[in-house]
Every structure is written in structure tokens, then in C-alpha cells.
Symmetry: C2
Subunit: 257 residues, 2 copies
Amino acid sequence: MSKPLILVTNDDGIAAPGIRALVEVAETFGEVIVVAPDSPQSGKGHAITIHDPLRLKKVSVFEGIEAWECSGTPVDCVKLAKHVILKDRPISLCVSGINHGSNASINILYSGTLSAAMEAALEGIRSIGFSLLDFSFDADFEASRFWAGKVIGYMLEQPFRHGCLLNVNFPKLSPQEIRGIRLCRQANARWVEKFVEGRDPGGRPYYWLTGEFINEDTGDDTDVWALENGYVSVVPSMHDLTNYTVMKDLSDLESIG
Amino acid sequence: MSKPLILVTNDDGIAAPGIRALVEVAETFGEVIVVAPDSPQSGKGHAITIHDPLRLKKVSVFEGIEAWECSGTPVDCVKLAKHVILKDRPISLCVSGINHGSNASINILYSGTLSAAMEAALEGIRSIGFSLLDFSFDADFEASRFWAGKVIGYMLEQPFRHGCLLNVNFPKLSPQEIRGIRLCRQANARWVEKFVEGRDPGGRPYYWLTGEFINEDTGDDTDVWALENGYVSVVPSMHDLTNYTVMKDLSDLESIG
């Protein structure tokens, strides 16, 4: 049997240490191709580029690995990888990350890393997004590498489930300190925004987004709980945003008008 | 009792006819404030601007209505409206749109219009995203205006449900042709991408995203079905992407490593 073809992408850009760590793990499982943004794309969510052309450039960033940098968003990278670079050659797995910083809870909505993974899932590819709870450029990916390997090995043996991706977050701990994996639901947390207000050199006002992550979800079955308690969190995620639980409460909506 | 405060935004930009139609409907229900992008932001999904400052400019676009244009994404507009412009004054309702083009099915993921509505829902605001199945600039919003009013009136009387938003799509039909409202689930459809390849004036290759929307979901309870059968579709939506149905299938994941 031929080796599995594994697509690697991220949102921190092709030069980020996190994607290098993920490439090193992925190449122990199969043939790796990297298609990643040429610049940081954090917070780009599920954005796609429709009003501008996209650029692709083959680069030598990872020894012995075919790699392309792309001018677009992480979701653009997945679409270009599948349709232009690989010309619909079957992809066994897409892995995205390892993100520098958490994508637990509602951060999945804002994250380019996880949106790339979701796009792959939509395109019928097994898919995993990985993130480490450390924003720093020189974050230590040792434990992440170990656990990413475990999850990739598991996922490659799973039957394909359309539209299902895994959102995997690693606590900022040493390999010895991590207690294992927890299968979780997405914590119902939120961001409390602040905007830093300032004046540019021309005297014009600007606003710069910042904020604080607040978790008021007290469940011990959430990703935030798992991470705070020393576990790797895995949330099986999907693209169906239908709120089935409120559907029946709104049934009289069909009779208005 | 004071009039409800209604925030209006969109992703087609503050000059689009669709947002003007929505402002006209919203002002029959309460005090309206508009905070919308200064340029088209279609396909921006849940993107936020974190690496650049944001600009806000008060503009006179709608007679007698306070309106601001923003240099950021639709989600940025909602955050700035709540925290900077309204300084956390309670917002009764956020309405986003009326989008020029469908946001049914998985288009909710790519849509700036719907991501703005979801951001408002996350911030604890009743929220509705509206879209008309007509991409043209001079689309006819007459039927959309009528049904948007019906849905807004309904939603303002509903109890607040945290994180719940409505994804409302209007078929491209006359008021007489529309058969009513259907409460739906999100159709499990997909885009089949194509990239138009070309060369720029400097001879360098580019790729431009295009594609075809394919619905293979045969259910008669989906938004795509409703729209194809002459109904306004309403999908109650949410931000929890956890795939609860596959959770039990993956329970052995906790024992690896």
C-alpha cells in the first residue's frame, strides 16, 4: 500500500516554528506536502479571497519536503492545495498548526488554523487542527510533537466521517506533566474586548483590538477544563451550526406573516 | 418603555443597497445605529483584525440615522459598535445584511454578514443575519423588506437565548410568490472549487477562486429545500461546533498515548 499523503498548513505562516514541528511529526506517517500562508494569518477565521488573485510560490523551507507559500488565507491554502497543486489527488489527512496559542472553546471561530482544518473536512479529508497554549515564537513543542503523533496515528486508522475534524489543544506543560487526552465539548466561554485607543503620527484616532478570555462554563467535560487540568483536549468538531435544541421553541415562527 | 436600540451591519459595505433596505425596516422598530465596513468584505468569515489598527468614521449615509464606517471586518464592526461607539449601552437586536447573495447552508461559514450576526450573539445580543438570493447590485428588496420586518418583530418578542442567531435567506421572488417561512436545518451542501488561472501584466501566474455550489442533501427540512420551494428559510444557528454525535465513536481516543 502506498504511503498516506498528508497536507500540512497553518495560520502563523510557513516560517513559524509550530508548522516545522508538525511537518516533522507528519513525515513519520507518510508523504508530506506543505501549503501555508506566506505571512501571519492569525484571526482570519474562515475568510476566503474572492476579490483578489492568489499567488503560489514553491519554496525550500523543509528539507526533502515539497512546500508552497500562498498569498491568501489558510482556507485559500487548502483549496489551492487540493485543486491546483495536487489536482484532486486523494489526500489521506490534513493537519493544521501547530498554532502558537490556544484555539480552545470559541477560538475555533476566529482561528485560521482551525478554519483550514474545517475546510479540509468539508472537502472530504480527515482533518486535525493542533494548537499549543503558548503564544511565544520560541515555544517548546516537545510534548506537542509526542501527542500530535499519537492523535495522527489514531486518526489515520479511523473510518472517514464526513465533515468531522478534531480540534486538539496542548497545555503548556512538559511531556512528564501531561496527564493524557480528554475528549471534550467546546467550552462556552467568551472574549471581553477592550480597544486600545491611540493617535497615529498624523493625529488621526485608531483603535486596536485586545481582550481577555473569560470562561464561565463550569463543566468538567470542556476543553478549557481539560487544559487547565493538565490534559490534551480533543473536541470533535463540525460545520453544521444549526441550533437543534432551540428549533422546537421557535416553531411558531412558521406561522407569522 | 424606551425604544429598542438596533445595531445594523453587513459585509457588502455601508454603501450597498441591501443595508439601506435593512435600515429602513429596522427604524420602524426602534432607534437604529449603523456600523458597517467601508469596503466590501464578502467572504471574510469570522475574521478579526489583530495585526493592524482600525479606523472609524462618522458618515451621513442614511437620513436621520447615526452611521459609522469602519476599516475592518464585519466582526470588527460589531466589536467596535458595542465597546467603543455604544460603550456597552444595551443593544436589543443586531441585524446584519441584507446580503446580496445566498448565505444558506455552509455559506454561513464564509459569510461576513453571518459572522457579524454570530459575533453579536456571542456578545449576548439577539441577532439575525439576512440574505437575498440575488448577487446583483440592483437586486429588488421589496419582498425581503416585508419578511425581514416580520422576523424582526418576532425576534424582538422572543426571550433572549444566549448565543442563538437566526440565519434568514430570502428567495429571489416577488412578495406574491413567496409562500411563507420555513424553520430549517442547515443543508449539508458543498462548494466544488475551480481556480481560474492566468498571467498578470508582468507574466507571473495567478489563481482566482471560483466555484459551483452543490447540494446533495435530499432532506425537505433544509434551508436549500425551503428556498428552492418558494419559502423564506430560517435556520436557528449557534457557535458551538462540537460534533456530539461522533463523540461516543471516538471514546477510545482517551486511552491512547
